[in-house]
Symmetry: C2
Subunit: 256 residues, 2 copies
DNA sequence: CCCAATTTGTTCGTATGTATA
DNA sequence: TTATACATACGAACAAATTGG
């Protein structure tokens, strides 16, 4: 285990902020700054409390919030870990399509295209960049039970994903977000989605094997890292003939 | 202030359950059973801790969870209250449509029809009842900025809403959920939604003033009270030409 | 405007239980 | 079995917000 890190004095913007939030911010910055890599074990609560000069209860309250946000994971008897992007986490936190009967299954993914592009106005706005900025854009076809259900078009800022290639994308061992994390040091912590109905255009109808003009759901998503900084823009076209878009089970968090 | 209530001994199903969860269940049952009406003030934390025979910290942990689930509301300096269904709460917790530019506005509601019906298979399944059971069914047209955007068809079990009439529905002073709560003692605590795209049928197209066949979003919602008991089924047809369906900002809870 | 009482919010510290290696 | 880690439970003191005098 690494030596207990040495933390900076209270930041100026912490004025009037409860101590446990100051500790939370410090933990966040340490995680973001790579003091503890994804998947690694943090020092014990006792050690952290000493390192920060706060009581164990205060330290726990900070960790409670980070745990509720899926940034840290606690396991009784084992320790506290920096969350990683496992296939399970993707399925339950970031994948919102289920079969109409409620079956939830991990999709199989097929890369259809890979390009370097310049951001259009809408993408630039969503990513907090300027139109014309360089980006990678690629399309995935997602299948459930062997049937194509979703067409994703993803847009990633070139500045954040230097060295991304079609080959690396294709040969990734696990989920996309796992790739972002392990290869580019980018941790997706949250996503915002907005949906509407639309008629399938020719491209979507070909990829999904449905008639052009058929109603499909169109979901715009922005994935965010620490500090709500956008790192990915995604437009999904969903064939909802046999499947449905399911909003977060906000219950899960509370009911445990 | 009413005298401190007198709570039953620990329930048998509480075996192995942490004390704060036992307290939480007892609080829930007291709320559900009407010991404290919606909007009323609970005894202070100190009093409750004494009444339950637990420490203040344990009591607070129970209240923390109920507060996170929007069942209780705490206000520093004032007290802890049983949550009520205000228009604001409806807008932020239960209404998921925004204008494309992000403007979130309370809809104006117009009652279009009111009938007694028998549940069909799908409705019965969703409401955990039997097909053919008696129900009320009514339609609302919701407008934003004066434009019709949503057509809701609601189905309520007749057994839970005895005495509901078109007149009472029409003359309610506030939101529908406020009516459920004050007139029928039914508190909606949570809702599950599933969405798909569909072509507007003739009825929807007439009500929303759009062309038949146009792609619209179709949202199935089941509203639940304590113990995840379903109390309302709702099918919404949304014209997403100018508006979007926005999934919960799961961030809001955590970021406060 | 200030003061006092009340209530929740924060912080501290300790002891004990439970899960894991 | 032992050691370690998180989980639960206890209790005390003070801070901050609110209300009423």
């Amino acid at each position: 285990m690494p030596a207990s890190p040495h933390f900076a004095a209270i930041a100026p913007e912490a004025a009037g902020m409860p101590l446990y939030r100051v500790v939370k911010r410090a933990l966040l910055q340490a995680i973001e700054g790579g003091t503890w890599a994804p998947g690694s074990t943090l020092p014990s609560e006792t050690e952290l409390a000493v390192a920060f000069g706060v009581s164990i209860g205060t330290l726990r309250k900070a960790v409670d919030e980070l745990s509720a946000e899926h940034i840290l994971v606690r396991r009784q008897g084992r320790g506290t870990f920096v969350a990683t992007h496992s296939p399970d986490r993707f399925l339950f936190q970031f994948f919102h399509v289920e079969r109409a009967d409620g079956l939830r299954e991990a999709p199989s993914v097929e890369l259809l295209s890979f390009d370097r592009v310049k951001l259009d106005d809408a993408q630039a706005e969503a990513l907090n960049l300027r139109a014309g900025d360089a980006a990678f854009q690629f399309e995935n076809r997602l299948a459930l039970q062997g049937r194509a259900v979703i067409l994703d078009r993803l847009t990633l800022p070139a500045g954040l994903f230097k060295g991304l290639t079609e080959k690396r994308l294709r040969e990734r061992p696990s989920t996309l977000y796992q790739l972002y994390q392990s290869e580019f040091g980018i941790t997706v912590v949250h996503a915002r989605e907005r949906a509407r109905a639309a008629a399938a255009d020719r491209h979507a109808s070909r990829v999904l094997g449905i008639a052009a003009g058929l109603p499909v759901m169109q979901v715009h998503r922005v994935a965010l890292t620490f500090g709500d900084k956008p790192v990915e823009h995604r437009e999904s076209i969903i064939n909802t003939a046999q499947h449905e878009y399911v909003s977060l089970l906000s219950r899960k968090d509370a009911a445990r």
